[in-house]
């Protein structure tokens, strides 16, 4: 049965970015339906019962998150759209922002209405220059059509959206660092609690949602929670964008229901392994921060709970495929260098641990490893994990732990041979 794309339904259309094309294909009907037929509280309930879980990485229930806002409207409430997509191996939000910005914008307006926010912020990754321009254009178009501004569609609801471009730091995708950055400060994660729903942007109750999450809200507003919940698997509902990169024939963004097998995505959507003679060695299913799965454990369903059961996480669904030519030490070093560069430097374990990882790995890869180094990597990772201000600590500790544990013999071989065994 062919799957009819929902999130990517417009991206291949001529002029998909324009509001005319978007509206000609049913766009802004979800917003109309919500504003005319529903109450904001009912929309929150609708999203809750749809089972929508955040697409940014943690997979927390979106409706539940919204309901954490304190009652009362003494302080303004803010909605921040996290469009700082920076996780290595992840490029799904970018497709939505650049190819179908109104799908995201419509979901943003519906969500802002649902949580009774009148100023939303769209925090877009600094490197997304095209996306910044395109989304800015989309905001202008929507404003001209009365989907933004005062008294939207005669409902009495006012909303404006402020588009803000980050300066290119990975850490600003962490929601509290994003808030700091948005406030004009250095992007350092905040200590939680208090959570942003209570004390967020400028000290006000704030919801931070991922781009893809909000695109899904548009779908829920269009066709209802029950329909949405029928897609995917129990507790893992709805369509999902999967990024596939690495040693596959057709790397790219593919849409499929949550719970689609990883091997289906790899072999069917992405066209299988890049080289016929180089079999699958490992796959990181959820973006570089998640634990790696060796080939023999890649027969898993791509959803939040299945991957958690497999000892990893869906994360941002950035599937990174590695074939037999991959040196796992070099691969981990590559990641570690990224994390060392992107660590904000605020808290001790991450600031010092990330640099230590790269130095040990550089020695190992260069043939200068000591027999105790693999265990040292694991112990340093153990002391980083869980001890940092933000999840960045896990984001670097988990890959280190899983690469070393799953491919221990390769690390030991680097020590014994005093060289990379895969290097020619």
């Amino acid at each position: 049965m062919a799957y009819e794309p929902l999130l990517l339904r417009n991206v291949h259309r001529e002029g998909s970015r324009s509001i005319d094309v978007y509206m000609a294909n049913g766009g802004y009907q979800g917003l109309r339906r919500a504003l005319k037929e529903m109450a904001p509280e009912a929309m929150v309930e609708e999203v809750k019962s749809s089972g929508l879980r955040g697409r940014g990485g943690a997979g927390f229930s979106t409706g539940m998150k919204w309901s954490f806002l304190p009652p009362g409207l003494e302080k303004p409430r803010y909605l921040c759209v996290n469009a700082d997509e920076s996780e290595p191996g992840t490029f799904k939000d970018r497709v939505l922002i650049e190819q179908d910005p109104h799908l995201v914008l419509e979901g943003t307006i519906i969500s802002a209405w649902a949580i009774q926010c009148h100023t939303a912020f769209f925090y877009i990754r600094g490197e997304f220059q095209a996306g910044f321009r395109i989304f800015g254009q989309a905001i202008e178009e929507a404003r001209a059509r009365g989907f933004l501004g005062k008294n939207i569609l005669g409902s009495g609801f006012d909303l404006d959206i402020i588009l803000y471009r980050g300066a290119g730091a990975y850490i600003c995708g962490e929601e509290t660092a994003l808030l700091e950055s948005l406030e004009g400060k250095r992007g350092l994660p905040r200590i939680k609690p208090p959570f942003p729903a209570i004390v967020g942007l400028y000290g006000c109750p704030t919801i931070i949602n991922n781009v893809e999450t909000l695109a899904n809200v548009t779908l829920i507003a269009e066709r209802g929670a029950a329909w949405f919940a029928s897609i995917g698997r129990p507790k893992n509902t709805g369509p999902k964008l999967f990024c596939l990169s690495g040693h596959v024939k057709r790397p790219g963004v593919y849409e499929a229901p949550l719970g689609t097998p990883l091997l289906t995505l790899l072999n069917e959507h992405a066209g299988g392994m890049l080289h016929r003679d180089r079999p699958l060695k490992a796959c990181v299913p959820g973006g570089s921060s998640m634990k790696v799965l060796p080939a023999d454990r890649c027969d898993v369903l791509m959803d939040f709970d299945s991957l958690a059961a497999a000892g990893t996480m869906l994360g941002s669904a950035g599937g990174m495929v590695m074939d037999s030519s991959t040196c796992m030490v070099a691969a981990l070093l590559n990641l570690a260098e990224f994390y060392e560069h992107e660590s904000c430097g605020q808290c001790t374990p991450c600031r010092e641990g990330t640099g230590w990882f790269t130095r040990i790995l550089r020695r190992l890869e260069g043939g200068q490893g000591r027999p105790e180094d693999p265990d040292l990597l694991l112990d340093v990772a153990r002391k980083v994990e869980g001890n940092t201000i933000c999840p960045f600590g896990e984001a670097v500790a988990w890959p280190v732990q899983s690469y070393v544990t799953e491919f221990r013999s390769e690390f030991d071989a680097h020590v014994m041979r005093k060289a990379c065994p895969l290097a020619g």
Partner: protein
């Protein structure tokens, strides 16, 4: 007493011991109440919470991860464990992380001996490192401010200094620059750390990253002996520790007093001991039977004398003036820099016994009061002088005396702790016209040159006494070092002068003088040196 049933209070268990604290108290503070040390670098009670060092991670029942004690509010029924193997192992890890890029240059580091890295390494570290690579290098001698030196390699990025400049001095010179392991504290371009409170960043730096430039390489801190005292740099009365090594004051640092200065003091106050060693001291009595008159004539110049000889000469001169011209012809200039005991005996001996008609207290003002600590009144005891009935410091008083001298109405003058000539308040002509000029002071000064008798007085830190702050708080300044040369406390010199005029009280000590003040001045009722303790007490009606 804390009440566990009050809605404002919560009861919790820390390492099996119950404690009741106010709602909002952090676990680290609650532990402190029990005397349980939760090690920490970035937490400071005078600053906002940063939670970045991660040294205070503790186990809290039902929380899957360790939680930072500094930012986790105590809740009702919470069970905290600070000594479990998991906590210990995490502390070892944090210590190891903090040291992998630290230069370990303790032998040449001024912080050695009062360094949290050293202390916690001994208490919570493993004593070894598994780090074998090259450390990250930074500038080791960065004059980040005029009085503060920054060593980027020793820094652990706790941001206490940044938060101090943002929250306390509100001068915002510092921030964290760069990222990750290369993160480094720095001053913004063109904004060096030159605020009047910059020294506090050095005090609160838990490691040797920020050092007080005037103290660098002066003394190993374990040789320093701290004496609790009070700053004499202005009318605030910041509580301080005066650190002495080898008979010399090397450092003055703030001592916590929530009623006066919290944890802080100004840079000016940190340097009030420096003149003791930089400026020419009057360290032995000088006499001059016939100072050269302003119209010229046989100048003999000052000559050395014993204290007794100088006092005899002073008494003789003063007695000659009062017996010939009456007590109205005698006046005194006394300083609000003097202790309460000095001022009391100045009043008692000079006005009471000798009968001097006027005691003038000059004002010493500079700049403006600021929002934090600094007062424009640069004397520590103007309030004390007022409470003793010497009146408020008078900017015009000395000028009035000059006029009377030149008009022949004033013939004798006793100057205690002031330099009216050097300060431009009185002309040399006026001083030379006096028939008796007696000076009691710590310094060699222009005024001294015209004196018939000059008696050396102790300087700051060389004797004890009470200062009354502008807010009316009586606090004890203590003796930290021996007096220079033949210097004596001014009150003692005045006592000896008084004896020559029939003063009968014994005044064996400064505290005896203070006790007399207490018995005579209602504002001090009920006080004593013991009662003042180390943090002072408010006077009444202040």
């Amino acid at each position: 007493m804390p009440d566990p049933n009050s809605p404002d209070e919560v009861a919790l268990l820390i390492d099996g011991r119950p404690v009741v604290v106010r709602k909002g108290t952090m676990v680290l503070q609650a532990a402190e109440k029990l005397g349980i040390v939760v090690p920490h670098y970035c937490y400071h009670p005078g600053l906002s919470i940063a939670g970045n060092c991660r040294m205070c991670l503790v186990e809290i029942e039902k929380a899957p991860k360790l939680q930072i004690g500094c930012a986790t509010p105590a809740t009702q029924g919470m069970v905290v464990k600070t000594t479990t193997p998991r906590v210990q192992s995490t502390r070892e890890g944090i210590m190891e992380f903090l040291l992998i890029n630290h230069p370990l240059d303790c032998p040449i580091c001024d912080q050695a001996g009062e360094c949290r890295l050293q202390e916690y390494s001994a208490s919570y570290g493993t004593g070894q490192s598994r780090f074998v690579e090259e450390k990250i290098h930074h500038e080791k001698r960065d004059p980040i401010g005029a009085r503060v030196m920054f060593d980027g390699e020793r820094c652990i990025k706790c941001t206490r200094c940044v938060r101090f400049c943002d929250e306390v001095s509100k001068t915002h010179e510092l921030d964290l620059f760069e990222r990750g392991g290369h993160a480094i504290i720095g001053a913004f371009p063109g904004r060096p750390l030159d605020n009047p409170y910059s020294g506090n960043t050095v005090d609160i730096c838990p490691v040797g990253a920020l050092t007080w430039t005037p103290f660098r390489f002066r003394a190993r801190v374990w040789f320093l002996k701290d004496t609790p005292s009070v700053c004499a740099g202005c009318a605030r009365g910041c509580n301080v520790n005066v650190a002495v090594y080898d008979g010399r004051i090397h450092r003055i640092t703030p001592r916590f007093n929530g009623e006066v200065n919290s944890h802080w003091m100004c840079d000016f106050g940190r340097q009030i001991h420096e003149p003791l060693y930089a400026r020419a001291r009057l360290d032995r009595p000088l006499v001059n039977q016939a100072p050269a008159s302003s119209t010229g004539g046989g100048a003999e110049g000052p000559a050395r004398a014993t204290v007794g000889e100088a006092l005899d000469l002073a008494a003789g001169r003063l007695r000659a003036v009062t017996s010939r011209f009456g007590p109205d012809s005698l006046a005194a200039i006394v300083s609000a820099r003097l202790t309460l005991e000095d001022l009391h005996l100045a009043k008692k001996v000079l006005a009471g016994v000798l009968g001097a008609a006027r005691l003038v207290v000059p004002a010493h003002e500079q700049g403006q009061d600021d929002a934090l600590l600094i007062r424009k009144d640069k004397t520590p005891n103007a309030k004390g002088a007022m409470l003793l009935g010497l009146g408020a410091p008078d900017p015009q008083g000395v000028a009035g005396l000059s006029g009377d001298i030149l008009a022949g109405r004033l013939r004798g003058l006793v100057v205690v702790g002031e330099d009216p000539l050097g300060d431009g308040l009185m002309s040399e002509e006026a001083l030379r016209a006096l028939e008796a000029l007696v000076v009691i002071d710590s310094w060699r000064s222009p005024t001294l040159e015209a004196a018939h008798a000059a008696l050396p007085a102790c300087g700051y830190g060389e004797y004890e006494g009470v200062f009354v702050s502008f807010a009316g708080r009586a606090q004890r300044a203590r003796q930290a070092v021996r007096p220079r040369g033949l210097a004596d406390p001014p009150w003692l010199i005045l006592r000896e002068l008084g004896r020559r005029f029939g003063l009968s009280e014994a005044y064996p000590s400064a505290s005896a003088v203070f006790d007399e003040v207490v018995s005579q001045v209602p504002a001090f009722a009920g006080l004593s040196y013991r009662a003042l303790g180390e943090t002072g007490r408010p006077t009444t009606g202040a």
